[in-house]
Symmetry: C2
């Protein structure tokens, strides 16, 4: 008789960790992903801002697990889970039966019911997203160079980032460097240094998961870069020519709400809109505001939270189906303090390892155990040579945190070649201010 079959859906941080945990153990493993590569998402914003190439932050899943002889890799698009028949259904009609399954399909960006915004404000979750963001940013400068109307030119040179988490902050910092340094000698009709960059956050603060002192350091660093930071500011409308914003709480919707009264209307290029709201005219709007679990999770038929994540039991299996595990951004679970786990790679990796271990324990007839998270800290880049890091009791800001960020990310990248090339690209970018991959390719 053959070994039990474990299917891992998703080749992200969680899926790969699960495969690694099961390598060489008495199970047959199938790793299923709709892409042939693993993507190192923490550096995706650098592809979007033309510092890195897609190939620098991605590696073929087959190559990563090539030495794991009990792991096979299938390229396939999982469209639904059949937990009764115990199989994964693919978009092309094929089915992949399992004895155990680990759903590690992550999240994609979400517009909270305003899906029409997607066209005007692309998010940043896939390589294709990153190339689209890159295309829009570079095209904005090209169009401004050809534009004779000063108002329209100012619009083209305004960039709004919606969402003040690490992605929004990192995008803002890099955009500022591109406008102020990288491009400044290359245009004849415009001064790229005049570009306006606005970071809009609906909640009371950017980088809410970081301690207050580090948030203050980040805010100062962003302002030094000439970035307008608007907290307590909710986006109420996005169209082809900009965004409408209002003070959080005033507009209604949700929120950590209206604590400051000064979020409102001022500044160049803005016009008052009804009810204390104002308008930011902008040629480019990027979305870094919200995520929802991948649609596959909904097909499990188990209770979901409002972001579409499966409510899992403490051992990460779903209620009533001890053979089905959900991990990372696809899962919702509260820790001992009643707090959700952070939506970062560490959570996905630790949960995936736990799920894989629980499968092995089950096969050995042992009871399963609850998941415990070990907080390894978090970091964010705030611009050239500046970052913040929150690692246990150690709070760092500025250059030391930036160095720590660089080394950690180089270390975590998969593959010797990628580490080497990314180090090289960063060195070139830091020394010359150049962005190596400023290519406008593919139009979606």
């Amino acid at each position: 008789m053959s070994y039990p079959h474990v299917v891992i859906v998703g080749g992200g941080f969680g899926g790969l960790r699960a495969a690694k945990t099961l390598r060489g153990r008495p199970v047959r493993v199938t790793m299923l992903d709709r892409h042939n590569y693993h993507l190192f998402q923490p550096l995706l914003y650098q592809v979007a801002t033309a510092t890195l190439s897609p190939g620098d932050i991605a590696a073929p899943i087959r190559w990563i697990v090539r030495h794991a002889s009990n792991v096979r890799v299938l390229l396939g698009d999982a469209s639904s889970m059949d937990v009764e028949q115990r199989c994964v259904r693919l978009a092309d009609g094929a089915t992949v039966p399992y004895d155990f399954v680990i759903v590690a399909t992550g999240a994609s960006h979400a517009y909270f019911g305003r899906e029409e915004w997607a066209e005007h404000a692309p998010g940043l979750k896939t390589l294709e997203d990153a190339l689209e963001v890159r295309r829009r940013v570079l095209l904005a400068f090209e169009r401004a160079e050809r534009e004779a109307d000063p108002a329209r030119r100012a619009e083209l040179l305004t960039f709004v980032l919606v969402g003040g988490g690490p992605t929004g902050v990192e995008l803002a910092g890099t955009l500022a460097e591109i406008a102020r340094q990288t491009l400044r000698d290359e245009f004849r009709a415009i001064d790229t240094r005049q570009a306006r960059i606005v970071l809009v956050e609906a909640g009371p603060t950017i980088l809410p998961s970081f301690p207050g002192t580090l948030r203050d350091a980040a805010r100062r660093a962003l302002r030094r870069l000439g970035i307008e930071v608007r907290e307590n500011t909710r986006v109420t409308q996005i169209d082809a020519h900009g965004v409408d914003v209002g003070a959080s709480g005033a507009g209604g919707a949700s929120g950590a709400g209206g604590a400051n009264g000064a979020g409102g209307a001022s500044g160049a290029g803005e016009a008052g809109v009804a009810g204390g709201a104002s308008r930011i005219t902008a040629g480019t709007v990027l979305w870094a505001a919200g995520v929802a679990a991948s649609p596959l999770v909904a097909t499990l038929g188990v209770p979901l939270d409002k972001a579409g994540r499966a409510m899992v039991t403490p051992d990460l299996s779903v209620p009533g189906h001890p053979d089905v595990f959900v991990v990372g951004d696809a899962a919702f679970l509260l820790d001992e303090q009643g707090q959700p786990y952070p939506g970062v790679a560490q959570t996905a990796m630790q949960q995936a390892e736990h799920a894989a271990r629980m499968i092995l324990r089950r096969l050995e007839g042992q009871p399963s155990l609850p998941f415990h998270y070990r907080d390894l800290g978090s970091m964010a880049i705030v611009g050239r040579g500046a970052a913040i890091a929150d690692i246990g009791r150690l709070h760092m800001a500025g250059f030391p945190a930036w160095l720590a960020w660089l080394f950690l990310h180089i270390f975590m990248l998969i593959g010797f070649r990628n580490r080497l090339v990314v180090m090289l690209e960063w060195a070139v970018a830091f020394m010359t201010f150049q962005r190596s991959v400023r290519l406008i390719t593919y139009q979606k």
Copy 2:
């Protein structure tokens, strides 16, 4: 009064050389291209075969000419030339008036009236083409891994390259290395080393522009790699499952024709088709067979050759319009021996420089001079560690030619960063057999 305005259409090898020649001279220059980057086409096949990233062989045109203060760069798609009104019309309706124009728009692949073949046999002229070829090649292996039917699996593992010029030969050699080395440990259901690679050439020989001894060396090198080389073999039909071929001359159409009778039907996976023709069942067909000048050339209203190139006068201007120059693959001119110039980067660069000089002479009131080509030789890669080089009286084959090829191409690449990264990628690929950028992205 301001200086005369020279418009250069196309930022390829020719366009950049023209801009360089005109830098700092008493003219205003506008460089117009529909891409924001210059593409180093000789290495495009390495993007298609996952060795290099798009960013490694492309550089922003703006950045390249940033120090030429009399050159401005416009991103725009030239759709027609109006030689009476003396302006270039763009696809978005704008016009760019000129005093002199240099048309350096190159060529794209052509299917000689069989445009329906494009869908089944993509060519290789743009970055988008290269990513599409990469996608098809990598997907073929992925699909074969999931295919249960042995006949369909063999079809998926068969690759046909149409055209035995440098591009076809280089693609064939790299595909062989990918199948026999790069992928061999990563698949569980298929043996990638069984992949069949067929190089089909309608003329009597592959690499017809090279001397006979070098062609023989190339043929031997390809056969050592397990590549089937089919000369005197004309493709008569291409569909989703393969190609029909016949002996050249037999099928009629054109050709250097039917000198050998042994081109015909044999080999596994082939079935006799009417009239001595045969069929090669193949999941992937790639087109490296023919080019035609860019469509802009036809709007000049001057006589064209059958590949759509403008018939130019000896000084490279078009008849009746001494202010309009056409260079490189967009132009047709015979040399003193009545031979056409080779369709290589050297021709484009030397002609562009000549055209720019003629404009400067005209402005100084001097008569124009006929173009003379200086042959700097040619080279082609035939596989890992093997190449051929024909440089004046020096004929090299094998490893020395391969080294010469590497150094020349590193040297010709634009930008320090690109040189460094490409050297690094080649070193990693040579030492490990790995292809760094095996990403299946965008579907066209």
